[in-house]
Amino acid sequence: MGEQATLSFNHDVRPILSENCFQCHGPDAATREADLRLDIQEEAFKDRDGSIAIVPGNLEESLLVWMIESDDAEDLMPPPDSNKSLSDEEKQILSRWIEEGATYEKHWAFTRPEKSEPAVDSPSPIDGFIKARLQEDGLELSPAADPKTWLRRAALDLTGIPPTVDDYRRFESAVREHGESAFEIEVDRLLASSRYGERMAVDWMDAARYADTHGFNNDSERSMWRWRDWVIEAFNRNLPYDQFIIEQLAGDLLPNPTLDQLIATGFNRNHVISSEGGIIEEEYRVEYVADRVRTVGMVWMGLTTECARCHDHKFDDFSQEDYYRLYGFFNSMVELGEDGRVANAYPTIPSPTLKQQRRMIELEARFAAAAHEKAAVLNRADTAESSGLSLADYGQQVAAATPQPVWKVSSSTQFTEAAYGSPDESGPFIPGVVGYALRSGPSNGAGSIAKGNISVDKETHAFTLAFWIRPDESVASEVPLFSNAQFEREPSSTRYGVGWDIRLSQGEIELSVAQRYPGYSMISRTRNAAIDESEWRHIAIRFKGKADDPYDHTPSSNFSIFVDGEERRLETRYDGLLLPPEVKAFESYLGSDLRIQGALYTGLLDEIQQFDRSLSDDQVLALFRSEALPYLMAKQTASDLSESERQWLVAIVLDQKADSEWLAARDAYREVRGELLVLDRSIPTTMISQDREQVRETFVLNRGHYASPGKKVEPGVPEDLIAPWPENAPLNRLGLAEWLTSDANPLTARVVVNRFWQHLFGVGLVKTSEDFGVQSEFPSHPELLDWLAVDFRESGWDVKRLLKGIVLSRTYRQQSRVFPELLAMDPENRLLARGPRFRLPAETIRDQALALSGKLVEQIGGPSVWPYQPEGIFEPIVVYANYPGTDWLQSEGDDLYRRSLYTYWKRTVPYPSLATFDAPEREVCSVQRSRTNTPLQALVTMNDPTFVEASLAMAQSLLDIETVPFDQRVREAYLTATGRWPEASETNILLAAYNDALDSFQKDPSAIESFLKSGGFERENEEPSPELAASALLMSLILNLDETLTKG
């Protein structure tokens, strides 16, 4: 490449110094030799005891020159045992640079990008920069590709789905008619397609390490598809990229964040999470924080931050302290080290889809109306109406419908001393709902139930617990009602907090059940139960039994809380309980618990009882009424009914009368409540970012070790190296996001546009797209990179505009033909004297086959799907336990044919056909895939049932079009697969392949039959025809052409 007038420090010199010298004479003070730094001008020029490493313009006096040229192994630099050595050319460059004055420059990536004019004039500055560089080597752009070639290239890059025959025809005629503008219209059409977001999401899912499982050796399931769908949607609505950063990094810290902004923060939670029993929590929590630093460093800063986790960075001026200051932004997130064994890891939120949100609004409105109507009927009814009826009979009837409990504490006098502690000093004889009540006092609660008493259904572990409460006016806002949770254990123990815990919390009933608190637990509470002081309320807790589906994603859906005989809607905070939970093993405390701190329940309890089965809704209601009725009647007689008690009584009376107006109102109310409960339970949860109320202090961790804290540091960024902290930015993740997206930040826009360039051209302008530090590769076109970065930022971080500009450039539109001379000169096509040509990404290869076959089912978003996977892929690898995500639950119907980005991604056993085409495991952030060419890939596209079935379906539709001659149909199939018409000689080969197969199948009818049964293919015509089999083999051949598998 061209001879320069003078050497550039950044381009020519720094890479040599960095690779060979900085390890010992660079930023890391701990390993610095001879107290010499060569990365800073003043230090390199300093006189140390009469010798100077670099004397500008003076080779004789420069010690560096002498040492790199030394013949003596003792003196030679770099030392032979460092495994580093300088080539003669490198030595010459260093010498020449010193001769030329040894000018230092700030590393290019840390200087602010500026827009410059390309040296060659061109309508698109992109082409201007590219042409200018080509001219230096006497080259020029290749001719423009055929419009069809461009269309396929752009469609695959921007939507991941190839054009149809009609698309090609339409576009070609548009080009003939409108010329240049047809291209622009076409790009706009592609960018407006919702397929665009799906295609763009794939690369971001790699970078953001998205998966459907938690990783590590249990690798059980998580549910983060709401985040994935947010990404698709963000690209589709062209969310400005600065917002894309801000919402993912810190959506939770925005004022009044929307549900979508909270979902976006799942970005910080996509990392792997361990649920291996016995790990040390803090060790892993530290890893999660480090993972976030690594990811943000790689995707938006282009810095290999983790190099400074254990020591100062060897190459970049990024110290260990800088690392932990960055770490400080992520160190205060709420999370647990061990979590996610059966579901999402804390913290999570319910994240209804748009459809569910609409349904929720509709149902809630209907529910309010039904409740209003029901109350109106009850209000109109008079309790006096009951006088003619035999409520006593009704009471008996209800009582008969009520099952017998395993045990019951109905007053303090009935329970033995051994099982139940002595009552509070205020005496046992307080009237209850039935008989006498139990009093729970501030110092002792109300005693306990010995563990032997509790029993559950032997098979399903189902049970129901019921009791009445009447809190004192003085009751604290958070008190235990019934608890056997083992909070007296060590918090580090794998059994900490195991058990049940039912609390009264701000007027709501809160149920928490744990195997280990809080990682493997569920915590649900009622909404709007409004339990007031000094009123009797009936509470029932029901566990319906071990889930029918062992892979239950929401364990909480197996629990119900009833208040006054009516099942309540719940709000669930944690949902990671492994079913069935334990309950029998522990002594259970009434009105108190095993926590060290916290107020006890002050108030009354009555009719505490437990059933070894799951009571039906009707039975719970009957239980409530059977106990309430005598009490209500007595109070009615005394004219002492409260408003709610009056309503209970009226409801019983109207039920008894089978009052038609009432029954209609009641049933309408029940129905819509039932629908709401179903809807509540179907709402997916998603993991989000949330900061602790109290900032967690951050310390430098010596050698990166979680248990070796050193100096305390405050969150912060390397301001001198990169950019100043924006004025008034908060010192948290939101501030960090503002800093990343500030105009002064030289890195973010460069790093981002470089990745989009990589998406389109296969290689970034900076090849090391994950590293822009001093060890990175110097950009192939630095001015172009800077122009793109500034233009991108100035456009308001408009991604679609950026892509459109590139895709319409002459550079992108070139033919991709490779000439031998050029190949020798520029094997990786870095100079772009030809268009991009490389193998399609894994997802696109599969999606293209599905699209060509007509099998593709396009439906945006939703839970991940389980397409064909050979048997026995999971078994030899996954953990021997029934955690969700340990079986491949092959989908049926449409879900077999969804786009590949929706394929269930299990990190420890990634989907084989995608992994074979270099899809990464997604255990860590990855911004570049390798692009290999292997025989295993050939086996996938020839033999994987997805591809076989696609060939069969293509053949079926090929044969169905009878109006077009067969060879024309074959030519069309070739066109849709490759983007060009086959030449005559190629058509001949295609037809020969067909005829050979036809001959062969005609001689072997049984082969036809078995071939046509491959995959899940369902034949439409009755007879297995040799034509169909032969066509299918031909279609398979087309799917396996190099040009089909390649973007050319």
Binding site: G277, G278, L939, N943
Partner: protein
């Protein structure tokens, strides 16, 4: 980088582009020398003569108890139920599974140890077959790991780092040396199915992942049953004749594309389709054990007749070794005996003992042991104290990485030799500790690779299997 998976067909272009872009010089070995070793000038080669051409790693996942298998501690016998002395324990960190345990009580092994072979190495009665190869193995009683839980420990052993993201040992070797056989992958992985349903920790594809190395160095899983390599079999109804016709036409069309586009990648693709076709024959041949004589089942045991068992995989490992596969990685799960050790350990010992010994004998009989390195061991050992309730006949042991045992055989490793020693509780090392990175350095050294020079540039720095650590354990080399 675009190049063929099974390297010998790598193009000159690859070579040129590597030179031009300085991406590292590894895998040149396979370009220059199909059946031997790379040219001496290659930077990463050790100065010494390579002893091993290939490695068979019999990985025992879960953490086999060194105290019950390899490292007799007669001093513990009289101390059942006593506290581990503080001088031994020394405030070491323990796993969360025992962190609320107040006391750590000694549980001596109930198994007898016998002096085996002429060398007289003491081995547990649980390993009667291993006793018969005592004179072939070098037993290391002082391996130590930094990790105390499965996931990080197994990842550490296989990739040199406790955290995900690094290439596995087999991928490094594949990258460094390539394949000896152009019809088979250089790095093959076989996961065994235990004979009884025993709780097993999950394995992870990262254990055979190429990490940041090019994806072609990924380990290829060989499975039991009729399709040893995924998607190897043609769809039903497509016989060899139809496939051959198909590939001929496909090749013709791809050559047309090459004329049109001139992209050498197209030539590579044509070659890879032919390679896939050859694998369709070579792999089933390899996996078809019907040509093994009855004597082999007498050696490996009847279990070797069942595809997918550890015994069958050991026999397969020998067949792969014969065909020049460079790195053969077996996994056996189920060694994680936190409780019920006496019911569970014998099952695992029975599954693995005989086939492991048989493999060594078989390799020796065929003259392959001289240049095949066999390694046996897991991610860590187990504690001398019991986990949870301790009864004389019923206890389990927790994870223990401070010292544990492994053995190696063949390829220039000392025979009938014991290296290193642990204290009287098998808790700490008292002599010649071998860190996981030392073990890795030694394995590479035997393959003729200097572990400090087999590097790959990623994210601006040179990475290697042993990170910045590791010393070749010279004392175990013959």
């Amino acid at each position: 980088m675009y190049c063929s998976k099974f390297n010998s067909s790598s193009s000159r272009r690859e070579f040129l582009s590597r030179m031009a872009y300085g991406l590292g010089t590894a895998a040149l070995g396979s370009i220059f020398a199909k059946n031997g070793y790379a040219a001496d000038s290659l930077k990463y080669m050790a100065t010494s003569e390579p002893k091993a051409k290939r490695v068979i790693f019999l990985f025992q996942s879960g953490g086999p108890s060194h105290l019950d298998l390899f490292d007799p501690k007669p001093e513990m016998a009289s101390r059942f139920g006593q506290d581990i002395p503080e001088s031994i324990f020394g405030g070491q960190r323990v796993t969360g599974m025992v962190s609320d345990q107040d006391r750590f009580l000694v549980v001596p092994s109930k198994y007898k140890f016998n002096r085996a072979g002429e060398c007289g190495i003491e081995l547990s009665e649980m390993l009667p077959w291993t006793q018969t190869i005592a004179d072939e193995i070098c037993l290391i009683r002082s391996v130590h790991s930094e990790a105390i839980n499965h996931d990080p420990a197994i990842t550490f052993m296989q990739t040199g780092s406790q955290l995900p993201g690094r290439p596995s040992m087999g991928s490094w070797v594949d990258y460094g040396l390539g394949s000896e056989n152009e019809n088979l992958p250089a790095f093959v992985v076989m996961n065994s199915v235990p004979s009884e349903a025993v709780a097993g920790q999950g394995l992870l594809s990262r254990l055979w992942s190429s990490g940041f190395l090019p994806g072609k160095h990924q380990g290829v899983q060989f499975r039991g049953g009729k399709e040893p390599v995924l998607f190897l079999a043609n769809p039903s109804g497509i016989d060899d004749g139809r496939r051959r016709d198909y590939l001929d036409h496909l090749g013709s069309l791809n050559r047309k594309s090459f004329e049109k586009f001139g992209d050498p990648e197209i030539e590579t693709r044509i070659a890879q389709y032919e390679m896939a076709y050859r694998m369709q024959t070579s792999v089933p041949d390899l996996a078809d054990l019907s040509d093994e004589p009855e004597s082999m089942y007498e050696l490996y045991g009847d279990e070797a007749r069942k595809p997918g068992t550890f015994a069958a995989n050991c026999l397969m490992a020998r067949r792969l070794a014969e065909r020049g596969v460079r790195f053969i990685q077996l996994y056996q799960r189920g060694w994680d005996h936190h409780g019920g050790l006496h019911n569970r350990l014998p099952v695992l010992a029975r599954d693995t003992d005989r086939p492991s010994a048989a493999l060594v004998k078989d390799l020796k009989a065929r003259g392959l042991l001289d240049d095949t390195l066999v390694i046996w061991g897991g991610e860590f050992g187990r504690t001398p104290y019991g986990q949870g309730d301790v009864k004389p006949t019923e206890y389990g042991r927790d994870h223990h990485g401070r010292t544990f045992s492994m053995w190696m055989a063949g390829a220039g490793i000392k025979k009938g030799h014991v290296h290193g020693a642990s204290d009287e509780f098998g808790f700490n090392i008292v002599e010649n500790g071998v860190h996981v990175h030392d073990l890795q350095a030694t394995i590479l050294h035997q393959l003729g690779i200097d572990h400090e020079r087999l590097t790959y540039r990623f994210q601006g720095r040179q990475y290697r299997l042993t990170d910045v650590h590791g010393h070749v354990v010279k004392d175990i080399l013959a």
